[in-house]
Symmetry: C2
Subunit: 177 residues, 2 copies
DNA sequence: GTCTATATTGTGATAGAC
DNA sequence: GTCTATCACAATATAGAC
C-alpha cells in the first residue's frame, strides 16, 4: 500500500500518545516493522512528518479563521463550525497544543501561527469588541466548545452525535452571554 | 541566597516557556550562571526539579479535589476556588498539561493523577449525575473557568481583578446551565 | 525501497579535584 | 558548593550496499 500514508498514520498515533519529542524515528520505524533509515527515504526529517500530518487540519483551521475574520458568521455558526472542526481533528489537538517546541517549529513553517488563528476566532466571538470582559467571555466560550467536544467524543463512541453537538453549542453560547 | 529556590525559579520559567523536555539541565545551569554538575549537588535528577516545582501546587489541587469529592461545595464556590487556584498557578499549567511524558512521570510519582483530580471536580460540577449531557456541560464549564482566568491574566497585569473574577465565574456558571 | 553501519550531536548523570 | 572532565546513551540523520 501507500507507505507514506502508513507512516503518517503510525506517527499520528504515537505523537498523540507520547508527544512529538517523546516519539523517536526509531519508535515509528519499529511500529512499521522497519528501520529508521527506511523512513528517511520517504520523509526528509522528523519535522517533515509532523508537517505532513498537520498540513490539512491546519489549512482547515486557517480557513475557519479567515471566515471568522470576514465577520459574516454569527456566533452560533462560528461555534458550530469550530465544534465540528474540533471533532474531526480531535486526535491531533494534543500534538499541536502540547509541546512548546512543536509550537515553535510550526510557527517557523506556517504563514499564520495557530495562536494567531485562535485569536481571530475569539475576536469574532467578541464581535470585535476590545473590552476585556467581552474577550474573557469569548475565550471562555471557545474553550467550552473545545473541551465540551472532547468530552462528548470521550463519552461516546468517538463520533459526535447531533444531540451532543446541540448541548455543546448551547453551552458555549450561554458562556458567551 | 537560597540556591535551591533560585534553581526552581529559573527551571519554572524555562519549563513554562520551552517545555520540560525542551529544557536541558545545561539550559538551567547557564541561566543560573553555573554548570550542570553544580545543579546535581542540589537536586538528584531533572525529574526531582520538576517534582519540587509542582509539589505544592499539586497538593493544593488535590485538596481542592478532595473538597469537591466531599460534596459540601456548591457550584459557585467550587468554580470560584478553581478560578483562584488557576490564577495562582497560571505559569505552571502549560508544564503539567503539555508534554505527555511529563504526565506519565507525574502519574508514576503521585498518589492521584492530575487527570483523576480534574475528574473529581468535574463530577462535583455535574452534581454526581452520570448523564453525558451533564458531564459535557460540567467539563465545558471547567474549561471555561480555566481559560477565562488565563485570558484575564493575559489581558491584565498578571493579577486577577475582582471584576474579572466575577465575569469569569458568571461565564462558567452560565455554561454549567 | 530497504537494509547495515556509522557519523554527529545532545543529554542526563557521575567522578573526583578544589 | 562548585568546578573540569568525562561517561553512557539516545536521537537525528547520512553513506553506501543490495
Amino acid at each position: 500500500m501507500d507507505t507514506k500514508a502508513q507512516i503518517l498514520a503510525i506517527a499520528r498515533d504515537l505523537f498523540a500518545r507520547q508527544g512529538y519529542r517523546g516519539t523517536s524515528i526509531a519508535d515509528i520505524a519499529r511500529a512499521l516493522g522497519t528501520t529508521p533509515a527506511a523512513l528517511y527515504y520517504h520523509y526528509r526529517s522528523k519535522a517533515d512528518v509532523l508537517d505532513a500530518i498537520l498540513a490539512e487540519p491546519l489549512a482547515a483551521y486557517a480557513e475557519l479563521a479567515e471566515r471568522a475574520r470576514s465577520g459574516k458568521l454569527g456566533a452560533e455558526e462560528l461555534l458550530g463550525a469550530f465544534i465540528d472542526f474540533t471533532a474531526e481533528t480531535r486526535q491531533l489537538m494534543p500534538v499541536v497544543s502540547s509541546d512548546p517546541a512543536v509550537r515553535a517549529l510550526l510557527d517557523e513553517r506556517l504563514p499564520h501561527t495557530p495562536a494567531e488563528m485562535a485569536e481571530a476566532i475569539i475576536a469574532a466571538l467578541a464581535r470585535g469588541s476590545a473590552e476585556p470582559e467581552r474577550l474573557i467571555e469569548a475565550r471562555a466560550a471557545y474553550a467550552a466548545a473545545k473541551e465540551g467536544t472532547v468530552a462528548a467524543l470521550d463519552l461516546g463512541d468517538g463520533t459526535l452525535s447531533p444531540e451532543h453537538r446541540k448541548v455543546i453549542l448551547a453551552t458555549a453560547l450561554r458562556a458567551l452571554g
